[in-house]
């Protein structure tokens, strides 16, 4: 049976949702349902709604909340203990070296997200059923 995963994408650019949706359709080993929130407030509301979220993919800069050093702890304070990945176009910036201290699990460059990367990340972070 194909595994099921719920990914919550938090990004203030709706185009990223379209792009990720297209990539996810090419992943056939895992049944992925993509949920999308444009703001941190709507993401928090989604987490608190009790709907299943296997993983959060968070754009590094979600206006007006700032970068992952502010947004990831905000999500953690809602009680979310699943994996959080930070998407950035410059994940090599020095402040990313402390991403684990802020509760994030991994970083990935926007240009590196492809079906292989999505499959790898889900295999790494989602427990076997």
């Amino acid at each position: 049976m194909t595994r099921k995963a719920h990914i919550l994408l938090v990004d203030d650019n709706p185009a990223e949702n379209l792009i990720l949706s297209g990539l996810i359709r090419k992943v056939d080993s895992i049944d992925i349902e993509l949920h999308y929130c444009r703001t941190m407030d709507s993401a928090i509301a989604f987490l608190l709604s009790g709907k299943p979220v296997s993983m959060v993919l968070l754009d590094n800069l979600v206006h007006p909340r700032g970068d992952f050093r502010e947004t990831v702890p905000t999500l953690r304070h809602q009680g979310f203990i699943g994996p959080i990945g930070v998407i950035s176009s410059s994940p090599g910036d020095p402040y990313f070296q402390s991403l684990e201290e802020y509760g994030a699990d991994f970083r990935i460059d926007k240009s590196e997200i492809d079906p292989t990367a999505i499959e790898f990340i889900l295999r790494e972070y989602l427990p076997e059923e």
């Binding site: 990313f96 684990e100 991994f106 790494e124």
Partner: protein
């Protein structure tokens, strides 16, 4: 992880390797390397004793192959009998294989069995223990040119060196980080991984990953022994 000297030349990968924190970062490095040289996928294979029964899926310590591919291969074939596997034990020279390679012989089509046209193997060693591994690159391209082959071998060996030291090496005797000590303290209070994740504001996966590192560093096999040793060595009260 000890900082290497400038004498260890890492060229273009230097900065990225120095910044790599976890398995996803190493996935990014190896996957990008594979794509840059015209391959589609990579795998890091642990080489054991040549005569041991061995399954491809259990020997891959990091890979980006499609989910279930190695497991399906293991259901049908014996990786220990593959000429490629034997060749990795025969020599440390990098090897290149094609699906129609006549040296593979009948029933030896590892590449066609996996569904690829080209395989490049880079044998590598762990600096501290000498343990043998191989970095594999798989794809459907044409043969690789000499200069590119050299560069890929050098880059793969450099990346593996960092990957081994960061994630595979036995860290027994190394000191705990403040975050590991904090997690150890909560384990000693009987908290579960999910409870600790909530308390410390990280993911459950991170807690489990830190716990595995603490087990390695304290050289113990379970949480009970971990706590007992930590108290004995006055890491926690």
């Amino acid at each position: 992880m000890p900082v290497l000297q400038e004498n260890h030349r890492r060229y273009d990968l230097h900065e990225e390797l120095e910044k790599a924190l976890n398995r996803v970062d190493f996935f990014r490095i190896f996957h990008t390397l594979a794509l840059r040289f015209g391959f589609g996928h990579f795998g890091i294979l642990q080489l054991g004793n040549e005569n041991d029964a061995c399954m491809l899926s259990s020997r891959l310590v990091l890979h980006d192959l499609p989910s279930g591919l190695a497991e399906e291969y293991d259901k049908r074939h014996r990786f220990g009998d593959a000429i490629v596997y034997k060749a990795l034990h025969a020599s440390n020279i990098s090897s290149v294989w094609r699906a129609d390679d006549p040296t593979l012989g009948p029933g030896q089509g590892l590449l066609s069995q996996l569904g690829f046209e080209l395989l490049l193997c880079v044998p590598v060693n762990a600096a501290t223990t000498g343990a043998r591994y191989a970095v594999l690159f798989l794809g459907d391209g044409e043969d690789i040119e000499q200069a590119e082959h050299y560069e890929l071998c050098y880059s793969a060996a450099s990346a593996f060196d960092y990957f081994y030291r960061a994630t595979l090496a036995n860290k027994a005797g190394m000191g705990l980080t403040p975050r590991e000590t904090e997690i150890l303290k909560w384990i000693s209070h009987g908290k579960t991984a999910s409870e600790i994740a909530l308390i410390v504001s990280v993911s459950e996966h991170t807690v489990n990953s830190h716990t595995a590192t603490i087990l390695k560093k304290l050289d113990v096999v379970n949480r009970t022994q971990m706590v007992a040793k930590a108290i004995r060595e006055q890491i926690i009260q």
